[in-house]
């Protein structure tokens, strides 16, 4: 990396490349820094519920190793990405339905080792689950799209693999009823591992998933909440397929996926913005995060779709994830319009300090960072 900085060679950290097109369209970097060979699980401290992983470890492989001890990394981004590496997931801040209970990658990082473009190798955090010594570079690097440096090592907090799961679900064709029921579940005195909604072709579904020693009994409590909102609950214990579908809603092979950062109380509004465009929606109902998918969008529809959604939902951030390749140059995936924003200036200042040579994945990030 130091060599790149000295020679002004731009570089891009790459894991399995499953999210390589996200972010702004930039010229290909001079060099791809592949993490393929940094693929070892360095430690699994089962008694402490922590693990030290290299960035090239595939999440699916990590989960398999941890499952032997009934543990997991509480991350479940879409399954199509079974190749996805921990480094890539952290660098893009990607997540799935488990985020409802266990939060985002940023929240699971106990320690991080990074390489900066001047060759510095630095560590922040530690190996223990509670630690306030020093600055939290793990959070800074999570979601930074490789623009600050390369992640070399991650120490993650683990969680117990739930012995069983069960899901309470209900369907409706009324977006308001869907939002109301999801909200009632979010505020009920129950403990959901995941709380999602889905909308497609005029019909929607709310899903509350429970894990633990008594998942079915917990789901019974959700049944009552759903009934009180006037919907018909269905209880499903063999629920894996259901949740795979939710995760799949966050990706599209050739079409468009836009992530909307909203609030719980905006589910119906997001659905109504997506519907006229022929879009489907999955959402983390308790978190207010929604993914709108236009599966068969061509270039023109994708560009128009993004514009429409931003005009209907703005100022809520509408971030483009997947998109037809030819449509990308015509859109700013981040939707950041205010060039002189104080937060953006601060971000540029952070970038300048960590990567003064400007060689780490230049241009891909917010505001062209």
């Amino acid at each position: 990396m130091r060599d790149c900085a000295d020679k002004g060679v731009s570089l891009r950290p790459v894991g399995s490349g499953t999210k390589l097109r996200w972010g702004r369209t930039t010229p290909d970097p001079d060099l791809e820094l592949a993490t393929d060979r940094l693929n070892r699980v360095l430690e699994h401290n089962a008694g402490d519920f922590t693990a030290v992983m290299q960035p090239g470890v595939k999440l699916a492989d990590a989960q398999q190793i941890l499952a032997d001890k009934d543990q997991m990394v509480a991350l479940d981004p879409p399954l199509q990405d079974s190749a996805a590496t921990l480094g890539g997931i952290v660098a893009t801040g990607d997540s799935g339905p488990l985020r409802h209970r266990f939060n985002a990658p940023r929240d699971l990082i106990l320690g991080i080792t990074v390489a900066l473009s001047d060759g510095t190798v630095a560590r922040s955090g530690g190996q223990v689950i509670k630690n306030v010594a020093g600055y939290d570079l793990g959070k800074l690097f999570a979601g930074s799209f490789g623009t600050l440096g390369l992640i070399l090592e991650l120490t993650l907090r683990l969680h117990p693999l739930p012995p069983g799961t069960a899901t309470a679900t209900a369907e409706t064709d009324d977006p308001d009823a869907l939002e109301r029921t999801a909200s009632a579940l979010a505020h009920a005195h129950i403990e959901t591992n995941s709380l999602d909604l889905a909308w497609s072709a005029g019909r929607g579904r709310v899903l509350a998933r429970f894990g633990g020693a008594e998942p079915a009994q917990q789901a019974e409590a959700a049944r009552r909440v759903i009934e009180d909102e006037g919907l018909d609950p269905v209880m499903i214990e063999d629920d894996a397929k259901l949740w795979e579908r939710q995760r799949a809603g966050q990706r599209s092979d050739g079409g468009l996926v836009v992530r909307v950062s909203g609030l719980q109380g905006e589910a119906a509004r997001v659905i109504r913005a997506a519907e006229p465009l022929g879009g489907s929606v999955v959402g983390r109902a308790g978190l207010g995060l929604y993914w709108v998918k236009l599966e068969h969008a061509g270039v023109a529809e994708a560009v128009a779709g993004v514009r429409e959604m931003r005009s209907h939902l703005g100022p809520l951030p509408c971030v483009v994830l997947d998109a037809p390749q030819a449509a990308r140059p015509a859109m700013d995936p981040w939707g950041w319009e205010k060039a002189d924003d104080g937060a953006l200036r601060l971000m540029r200042s952070v970038k300048a300090r960590f990567d003064p040579a400007g060689v780490c994945n230049p241009g891909i990030f917010v505001g062209g960072i």
Binding site: G126, P160, A213, L346
Partner: protein
Amino acid sequence: MGFDLVLEELRTICGPEHVFIHPHQLHTFESDGLALYRASPRVAVLPGTAEETSRVVRVCHDAGIPWVARGSGTGLSGGALPHKEGALIVMSRLRTIIEVDLANQRVVVEPGVTNAEVSKAVGPTHFYPPDPSSQIVCSIGGNIAENSGGAHCFKYGFTTNYVTGLEVVLPSGEIVTLGGKELDRPGYDLIGAFIGSEGTLGIATKITLKVMPSPEDVRTLVAYFDGTEPAGKTVSDIVAAGIVPAAIEMMDNMSIRACEDATHAGYPPDAGAALIVELDGSEAECKTRFEDVLEICHRNDANDVRVAADDAERQLIWKARKAAFAAMGRVARDYYVQDSVIPRTKLSEVLGRIDELADEHGLPVANVFHAGDGNLHPLVCYDARNEGEAHRAEELAGAIVTACVDAGGSITGEHGVGVDKKKFMTKMFSEADLGAFQRLRCAFDPEGLANPEKVMPTPRLCGEVPGPYRRHPIEKAGLAERF
């Protein structure tokens, strides 16, 4: 700008009644919760709004005056220790709860609002999980600076897991907005970088917090053991069974005696160790898991297990634990609290080592700790009137920190580095690590005026990026040198 001019500007901004310069007025602000360190600032100023805060910081910036922000002053690492050449910016007048948006699980507050006021504003249907022992007094602004945890953070996490938006006054005086009520605003996670930065990156003037629905059921027990070893084994067994208690707290015999003396909560004074276990969540899950916990306690030879029959009894059990630091005053004239963290599996090994070190130094050490996350609070007891004892206590405390770091732990779990633990930073971090921290600090505060001489073991200056070399204001004032 001369200092008189600075004072005049501060008085214009905040009103003369909110600018203190007389020694008797400044006395109150000389230390935070760690009274070991004392310093008087040149001026203490109490802005009433974010706008005033921004103007105050700008005046300091333009005059090259270092400043320290202070909340309620309950911190335990000297993080709010004033700079004797600088200004102390006291945020206690900003104490409005701006908005309670329960439907979206958000609360927007000013930094001077206390931690307990947030839970009160959203209760009883909801609550704000981070619950430091000082929660009745400590401010959210201080919680942001320290990334405060509390007894329930093993399950629920820390302040950083509950902040979605911040309005921050940067050390330049500029006000910036980071995040909002929504999650995942595009860009770097500067909120994550700011929380726990101990007042070195700016001052939070508006904070958006996420609150949680209250659990359906809470069950609490306290189990008594012959010593910390079987109690520690119980903790490991509970966690290994996949149970995530809301709280799991341990006290050794010396702490039990002090707390029982102070609170009469009914702890047997001859117990070798007491273990508080609290489960919360859905009723069905709690019931099953609580039975598992009881079984594990008995399997590890608990002498007695007391299950809280109602909320009053639960409060009583907690009263003893939360009074631990204060109660220690009954058995020791002076004490020194440490905040080290160890991997939970090293508990009995490290406790044994602490006993050895205590014997070597000839001073008693009481232990109360958040056992679930391995956060120890060894209290080194001493009597400052005895020649050399304070020094020996400090040495012993340092040796305990070293033992914890050697076991793979951290120098601080929740109290922060501040001024108290900065000398230990090099035990955990290399020069390169500290250099990376400094990059972040420089991105926010290139002049190094925000809470200088805290966190980092030695003062550092920011190089210009890019551009020619210019002398730093602190350098000009002769307070630090470039190396």
